[in-house]
Structures are given as structure tokens and as C-alpha cells.
């Protein structure tokens, strides 16, 4: 069969190609992972700049910087950029780098499709950013694209829809690749229940992606035909229902929020055992809890819609199912805490981020539990309380886990240790400012400040000013993060294969730092 290739077993392909074609034409999981991570960092700053303008406008009551339509465009696109451009690609980038190394595979299972799923993204976001420059301006109806408002958009409307189609195609291909890699490429002896938690959480996330991204594609396609081809999916006059869009959208949207947090759970489950110098407490229960969360995430979508006038039975069902998610999530938080119990703890930057995640994500989880209560939600709906809730799970949740992962594996990738002092500065500034930024938003929301508004009543002035100051501090702190990463790529003290003296577990630590271009040419034996 393949004997024709055996005679050049040690040719030049062990080295990356030279020049720009290395990145354009690559099929290497590490190159593609790097591109995903760099892209994600750029998008993090693009979306972050939008957030800075938003918080500058909200610094005091009245309109001062941007007109209301542009303000709404900025909130809409801030969300889309952060979700589809920053958080999701960062996790896919980490998956690309780590999964083949953690399961002892030579590469991802479908390397060309891997590069395809990455390169779609820059083009998709080019289309999306271009919407700011067409007649009518960028989409301003919120990232959830609720009709009838969203389909009244100008020339930007079909551009945004197609950009979302492209992002969806990219995610589906990425997910298929991850599932196939994990199911088909594990080294001998690497049984499913021996896999690192990061692989497990990503496997389950990938199933969720394939389940819901096509539904989002269907939903936005219906928006498109309602606008251009006279269909009536979301038009009551024709027998449709705008609320139907919300059902279809949130059937995607709720699993989507778990798509953005399950890999974070996996990362934290890698970091905490390492720096506690103990194996993960309750590994099996972690796996089952992840699977339960994924299953439950598919049957709770209408808790985003409690005020739309659903039948009482539906409100009850979605309330109770939502609260049920607290059980497996509680199992996880308990296991992480129990892992640290009587451990020999040390507080390197990855551990600091993981600990911050543990506390602050849990705050976001608790405010989620409050929002799950139908009668309470009637008050909280569309207030800053919701904004505070989901930013707590996404920023000190998902984003902190990503930063923790970068600080954990960066020496493995580059072969250099990074500047620990600067990284700790980054950590402390981020953790302090993220709370200054988002905690007051709980108060604003409970006091009744609505979300997605450029101006507000003077009674909300104090906490908005505090929140904006926190935002500027948090935004500036991220420049330190970029500095640490860039410095580390350029040079630094040599990292050992183990990197951490905490003796981390996992196949990735058996490889030298930096990892050779092709990691496991010969599959390792796992005992």
C-alpha cells in the first residue's frame, strides 16, 4: 500500500516550510493552532476596543461620544466578535495544539480540513467588519438578531447573515475534526477514561457544536428569506411568529454558552491538579458531570424567553431544567476544591487564573441561578443584571481559563519561560479590574437599568462611572498580556520538557520544549 513513500522517511518535511506559504498552506496542527490563537488575540482587542467605546459612552449620563445607532452597532458587534472571533477560536486553537499531543497522535485526523476551518474565519470577519462601512451601518439589533428588528437592517443585513454562515461552517468542520481525532487517533492504551479532561470536555463540546451550529444556520437563513424572498417564518400576518425565531435561536444559543465554558472546565481541570500536586479529584464524575451539563444545556433554551408570554407549563419546565444544571456544575466546583484539599499548592500564573476562575465563575453561576427563577427573571430580564451575569461567566470564566491555558502551555509551545513577574501583574490587575468592571453592574441591573442603551437616568451615574473605570483598567491590563506573550515567543530562559517543577501529568510533558514540528511520529504506549 504505502510502501512507495517509505524511502523518503527522513526528508525535509520534518521542518516547516519557509515564508508565508508555511501559514497559508499548512496542514500542521501546531501552525493552525498558533494561527487560531493569534487570530483570537487580535479579535479580543478588536472586540475589546468596541467595549471601551461603549464604556466611555456610558461613563456619564447623556450622549457624548457616539450616536445611538452606532452605539447599538457596537454592542451588537462586540458580542459577535467576542463570541465567534475571540472565545471560540481561542478554544479551537488550544484544541489544535493540545489534543494531538495529549492523546499521542501525529496530527489532527483531517489536516487539510483543519486549515480550511481556520482560514474561513479571517474572511468571515472581514465581511462582518465591512458592515460598518456600508449604507445603513452595521447591524444594530443585538447579537441575538431578533426579528422583526434585525430584518429591517440595511445593506449590512445579508453581509452579517453570510458571515455567520461562514463562522458556522468553520465551527462545524473544526468540531468534526476534533471528534474524529479523539475517536480515531488515540495512542495504544489511551482509553477514553484515561484521556485528559481537556480532551474530554472538548469532545463533548464538539458534539454540541455539530448539534446546534446547523440550527443557527437554519435560523439565520429564515431571517434572510423573510427579508428578501417574502417568507413568513417570523411574520404573524402570514401565520408565523417572531417568538419562533427566539426558540430556534436559543436552541442554538444556550448550548453555545456551554460550548464557550466546557473547554474552560477542561483547562481548569488540568491546571488545578498540577499546581496542587495531586491527581484530579473524582475524574470519572467530572466526565459524567460534563456530559450531563451538555445534555441539560439542550433542554433549557427558553429560559432566555420567560417574558415572551410562553404557556405556564413551558415556563415551569424550563425553570426547573435550568436549575438542575446547578447539580453537575456543583459536582465540578466541589471536585476542583477537593483536588486542592491538603494539596501542596503553589501559585504560578496559570494556577492564579484557575483559582480566580473558580471563584468568579461561581459568582456568575449563582447569578444564573437567580435568573433561572421565572418570577425573579420577570424583573431581571433585559437589565444590567443579565449583562453582569453573562460577563462573569464569560470574562473571568471563559477568558480567564484561556489565559490560564496560555500561561500553562506557552513554555511548552515556545520553549521559553515567560516573565513571571509581568504575568502576575497581569493577573492581579485583571482580577481586580474585572470585578470593578462587572460587579457594580449587578446593582445597576437590580435598580432597573436596562441593557443596550447609550444614555440612562442620573440615578445610575455613580456605578456606571465605577464600571467604566474598571473597564478602562481591565482593557489596559490586557496590553501586559500581549507583551508577555510576544516577549516569550521572542526569547527567554529555556523551558525544560516538564516546564513546571510540579511534575505535571500528561503526554504533552513527555515531549521536549519547544515541541518538534511533528510531535508523535511513533505513537507512545500508554499504561
Amino acid at each position: 500500500m504505502a510502501h512507495a513513500t517509505a524511502d523518503h522517511a527522513h526528508d525535509h518535511h520534518d521542518e516547516p516550510a519557509k515564508g508565508i506559504t508555511r501559514w497559508l498552506f499548512t496542514t500542521n496542527h501546531k501552525d493552525i493552532g498558533t494561527m487560531y490563537l493569534v487570530f483570537s488575540l487580535i479579535m479580543f482587542f478588536v472586540g475589546g476596543s468596541m467595549a471601551m467605546v461603549i464604556r466611555a459612552e456610558l461613563f456619564k449620563p447623556g450622549l457624548q461620544l457616539v450616536d445611538p445607532v452606532l452605539f447599538n452597532s457596537l454592542t451588537t458587534n462586540h458580542a459577535l466578535v467576542m463570541i465567534f472571533g475571540a472565545v471560540m477560536p481561542a478554544f479551537v486553537g488550544l484544541a489544535n495544539w493540545m489534543i494531538p499531543m495529549q492523546i499521542g497522535a501525529p496530527d489532527m485526523a483531517l489536516p487539510r480540513m483543519n486549515n480550511f476551518s481556520f482560514w474561513i474565519l479571517p474572511f468571515a470577519f472581514t465581511i462582518m467588519i465591512l458592515t460598518f462601512f456600508v449604507p445603513g451601518g452595521a447591524a444594530a439589533g443585538g447579537w441575538t438578531l431578533y426579528p422583526p428588528l434585525s430584518i429591517q437592517g440595511g445593506d449590512s443585513f445579508p453581509m452579517l447573515i453570510f458571515a455567520i454562515h461562514m463562522m458556522g461552517a468553520s465551527s462545524i468542520m473544526g468540531a468534526i475534526n476534533i471528534i474524529v481525532t479523539i475517536m480515531n487517533m488515540r495512542a495504544p492504551g489511551m482509553t477514553l477514561l484515561k484521556m485528559p479532561m481537556f480532551c474530554w470536555t472538548w469532545l463533548i463540546t464538539a458534539y454540541l457544536l455539530i448539534l446546534v451550529m446547523p440550527v443557527l444556520a437554519g435560523a439565520v437563513t429564515m431571517l434572510l428569506t423573510d427579508h428578501f424572498f417574502h417568507t413568513s417564518f417570523f411574520n404573524a400576518g402570514g401565520g408565523g411568529d417572531p417568538v419562533m425565531f427566539q426558540h430556534i435561536f436559543w436552541f442554538f444559543g444556550h448550548p453555545e454558552v456551554y460550548i464557550m465554558i466546557l473547554p474552560a472546565f477542561g483547562i481548569v481541570s488540568e491546571i488545578i491538579p498540577t499546581f496542587s500536586r495531586k491527581p484530579l479529584f473524582g475524574y470519572d464524575s467530572m466526565v459524567y458531570a460534563t456530559a450531563s451539563i451538555a445534555f441539560l444545556s439542550c433542554i433549557v433554551w427558553a429560559h432566555h424567553m420567560f417574558t415572551t408570554g410562553m404557556p405556564l407549563a413551558a415556563e415551569m419546565f424550563f425553570m426547573l431544567a435550568t436549575m438542575l444544571i446547578a447539580v453537575p456544575t456543583g459536582v465540578k466546583v466541589f471536585n476542583w476544591t477537593a483536588t486542592m484539599w491538603r494539596g501542596s499548592l503553589s501559585f504560578e500564573p496559570p494556577m492564579l487564573f484557575a483559582l480566580s476562575f473558580l471563584f468568579l465563575f461561581t459568582i456568575g453561576g449563582f447569578s444564573g441561578l437567580m435568573l433561572a427563577l421565572v418570577p425573579a427573571d420577570f424583573q431581571y430580564q433585559d437589565t444590567y443584571f443579565v449583562v453582569a451575569h453573562f460577563h462573569y461567566v464569560l470574562v473571568p470564566g471563559a477568558v480567564f481559563a484561556i489565559m490560564g491555558a496560555v500561561y500553562y502551555w506557552l513554555p511548552k509551545w515556545t520553549g521559553h519561560m515567560y516573565d513571571m513577574r509581568l504575568a502576575k501583574w497581569h493577573f492581579w490587575l485583571s482580577t481586580i479590574f474585572v470585578n470593578v468592571l462587572f460587579f457594580p453592574q449587578h446593582f445597576l441591573g437590580l435598580a432597573g437599568m436596562p441593557r443596550r442603551i447609550p444614555d440612562y437616568a442620573v440615578q445610575f451615574a455613580d456605578w456606571n462611572m465605577v464600571s467604566s473605570l474598571g473597564a478602562f483598567g481591565f482593557g489596559l491590563s490586557q496590553i501586559i498580556f500581549a507583551t508577555v506573550v510576544i516577549k516569550c515567543v521572542k526569547g527567554g530562559a529555556k523551558a525544560t520538557a516538564q516546564v513546571w517543577d510540579a511534575n505535571p501529568r500528561g503526554l504533552e510533558w513527555t515531549l521536549p520544549s519547544p515541541v518538534p514540528y511533528h510531535s508523535f511520529q511513533v505513537a507512545p504506549e500508554v499504561k
Binding site: H13, L24, W119, F123, V180, P214, V215
Partner: protein, 295 residues
Amino acid sequence: MSDAHAHDAGSYYIPHQSPWPVFGSITLFTLLLGAVATLNDWFSVWSLLPGFAMLLLLFFLWFGTVIRENQQGLYNLAVDRSFRMGMMWFIFSEVMFFAAFFGALLYARQFSVPWLGGEGTKPFTHLLLWDAFKGSWPSNGPAALGPHADGSFETISALGLPAVNTAILLSSSVTVTIAHHALIAGNRGVLKFFLALTFLLGFTFVYLQAHEYHEAYTELGLTLGTGIYGSTFFMLTGFHGLHVTIGAIMLTVIWLRVMKGHFTPQRHFAFEAVAWYWHFVDVVWLGLYVFVYWL
């Protein structure tokens, strides 16, 4: 051969450097910008042409590379298994795409139309806006949208052309299975005949569906704009018809490869992938036949 990544015989084949993924991304970008330009009336519909031309080229070049590598024997059984799993999950993603539209159909029939007709505990839309509207199915809504001035429209009987089309698709599933068995048995003559029969049945289905659409638009007052019935009817059957067309083209390509002597009784993943896809299209049709035409 020069761009094949070196490996021991039997090890997993990793291609080295490929221009097709980036080319594919640029293709998608061009195609969708063309669609944007068309929809926004920036340019004529011809702005779609470059995208489609590039798409055609992409398929030729990318699949050409994969077929060539396969003929060279670079793919071991593990690679074959990756392809199988990949195709399976791709088809599952397609299932979920259709699920969105089936979901819209069921929501309209079970909830939005009856509620607009006054059912349920929240009757005020009905009472205040459209108190004469009866929430029955088929419906083009309380505003009676559609091409006819009086808002009337007719539906297509399940017993006419749709029944014929059901028979056609079901037989094509049988013929593709016969072709598969012939391939395994090494009976290339039977394989060629039944595979050709399969895609001919597929194209016949598409032709009859187009005929049905023509009748719906010109005689029945049933269009995409005929309220929620027209929307769900055309979007479901339309996307299905598109998938049948793609499937029939794929079957044709496989047939051409069979004519060139590709595939062995043991190794013929491309054939099987297309056969799976064909069965998937068939199953979607059964769902359509029951929920769109029949019930």
C-alpha cells in the same frame, strides 16, 4: 508524489502543505460577496459567477488531489476510518440543518397558527387584531398572504406527483444498494448499470419536483410568499431538492470514477459516503412526505 508527507508504510498519512483550504476560503468569500452584491442590488446576479466558477474549480482540484493520493495507496485503514467518521458527522450536521426547518413547521402547526386563531390562554392577538381568523392548517396566516387577490391557495395532493417521487427515491435507494453489492462482488457490469440508474432516478426526481413547483406557482397560488404554509413548504422541499441535486451529481462523479476503473471490492469509501448521503436524502424525503404533504 513530491508533496506527500513521508511515513512508514501503514502509518497515518498527513498531507504536507496544501493550497486548497486557503483557495476554498477565498472561494467562499467571493461567492458570498457575490450573493451580497446581488441581494443588495449593488450589481446584477452575474456577480455570483466568479464565486461559482471558483467553487467548481475548487472541487476539481481538491477532490482531484484526494483521489490521486488514494490511487497512490497513501491512505491506510486508519485514514479510511477518519473519512468515514467525518462523513457521518457531516451528515449529522445536515440532519440538524433540516431539523431547524422541521422545527419551524411543527411550531407553526402546533403553536403559532392555533394561537393566532384564538387557542390557548393568551387570546388577545386574535381578539384585537384578527378575530375572524380560523387557526386551521394549511394556513397562509390571518393576513392571507399570497399571490391571489382573495388570499386563496391550493396545496399539492400527497397522492399525485409526491407519491410518484416517493416511489422514485425509494427505488433509487434500492438500486444504489444493488450497485454496492455488485461492487463488493466484483461484478462491474451490474455496478455500472445500477449506479447509472440511481442518478438517473435522482435527476428524474428533481425534474418532477421542478414541474410541481411550476404548477404551484402558476396555477395553485402557492409560492414562497404564501404565508407560513408556502414558507415551510418551499424551504423544506427546496433545500431537500438542492440536496438531491448535489447527491445526484456526486453519484454521477462516482459513476465516472467507476467507468475509469476506480474502487476495489475492499476499498471504496467514496462510493459508500455518497451512498450514505443518498440514503440520508431519502430519509429526509420520507419526513417531508409525511409532515409536509400527507398530514
